[in-house]
Assembly symmetry: C2
Homo-oligomer: 209 residues x 2
DNA sequence: TTTGAATTTCAACAATCGTTGAACTAACAT
DNA sequence: ATGTTAGTTCAACGATTGTTGAAATTCAAA
């Protein structure tokens, strides 16, 4: 069995993702982790600290593989600029592939990010803290791929991208209802096939001069 | 001063939007509403019922004006089909205009919807219950505007639209950080100018045959 | 075998939670 | 004036909340 600290993080990740920070009690988390309540305060400072550690556990790895994907795309274009599709693919595909290939390990974390990204309270602050350095790097690449575009158009385009991506992470099952079962929230392969093309067309339309 | 029931709904709407259903206590709501705690249970059955009434208070009006906007677009095209931009405009503009023109009245409700749409727990169920009849009506219109398109492409395109729209509703301030102040989450006029074109280009790219 | 540190258990704290019943006031019909 | 009803206040219920201190256990190093 996993060491206690990991089991607590796993349980907290899943419960926070489903019911939010305040919708889950330490006792529920520790019951799911099969450990005594007090151990939460031996391994973590507080409930808030536990939440932060859940976030931090995976964020660096995600930023790493996404940066590497962008660098590889740029390495493939030593003389010209990569296309918008390639850049957006490097931004989204590492995340989506992870989710498609190891769903059990990543789905709850992604659901948590979906929730935070759309949380009016401190969503902007948290997402900026964890992801903005990487995102700025991608936006710079997009700026070069879309020369003479208005920066405001670019930021709003990224905003639309962010909303589309994180709603995918939420896996709410709504598209299952809407399509009468023809589409499934958990069918990430379908998203990998469609999202980069959809978003790249939007970027090119909005940032065309 | 507003009647008590309205004040409770106003307070609950704002607090639920900011901290989620379980992140807010009845006592906090009633303190903000400047009314006794017990009045919550005189005017509503339970906390859950209060939440439902917050949702229901505005949803019918929203569905009405959006349906009317679609019908007007279709009336303008008695012989041919409306464009994708026109349909998406009818879907999004009534909502965004309301938010732009009467921000204080609508922003909290929209933030609540953003949160629910991205909630893995019962987000899909709730959104489907309140909005799917209207959404199906719009998707039918889009089907006619994009003949011979694969229905799965259409549903996934709508999914991306939904994510982009509701992240706008969340008004998290993240785009403010990311753009160094050049863009503002609350600047809905900028979204009205950009979102229909961005999304229509995505739809046409993905659903082109 | 003794020591000391890391880990776990148990019991409890004040505060807050959603909810309820009974009493009280206001306004209005008879 | 009397009765009825809608609206409001007050006090309290058992349950659960996040958190803590001290005791018990485990386990490797000395």
């Amino acid at each position: 069995m996993h060491p206690t600290r990991e089991r607590i993080l796993d349980a907290a990740e899943e419960l926070f993702a489903h019911h939010g920070f305040e919708g889950v009690s330490i006792r529920q988390i520790m019951t799911k982790a099969e450990a005594d309540v007090s151990l939460a305060y031996y391994h973590f400072e507080s409930k808030k600290d536990l939440f932060d550690q859940v976030m931090l556990r995976r964020v660096e790895y995600l930023n790493e593989i996404r940066l590497k994907a962008l660098e590889e795309v740029e390495k493939r274009h030593p003389d010209d600029e990569p296309t918008v599709e390639e850049i957006i693919g490097a931004f989204t595909r590492p995340l989506l592939s992870l989710l498609a290939e190891d769903h059990d390990q990543w789905s709850h974390y992604y659901q948590l990010i979906a929730q935070i990204n759309n949380s009016p309270d401190r969503g902007g602050e948290l997402m900026s803290r964890y992801f903005d350095p990487l995102v700025s790097r991608f936006i710079d690449a997009l700026k070069r791929a879309l020369p003479d575009s208005d920066p405001e158009d670019l930021y709003w385009s990224y905003h639309f991208l962010s909303g589309a991506l994180t709603l995918t992470f939420a896996e709410t099952g709504r598209i299952d209802n809407l399509s009468g079962g023809a589409c499934k929230s958990t069918d990430i392969a379908s998203v990998i096939d469609r999202m980069p093309a959809f978003l790249a067309a939007g970027f090119r339309q909005l940032c065309k001069h």
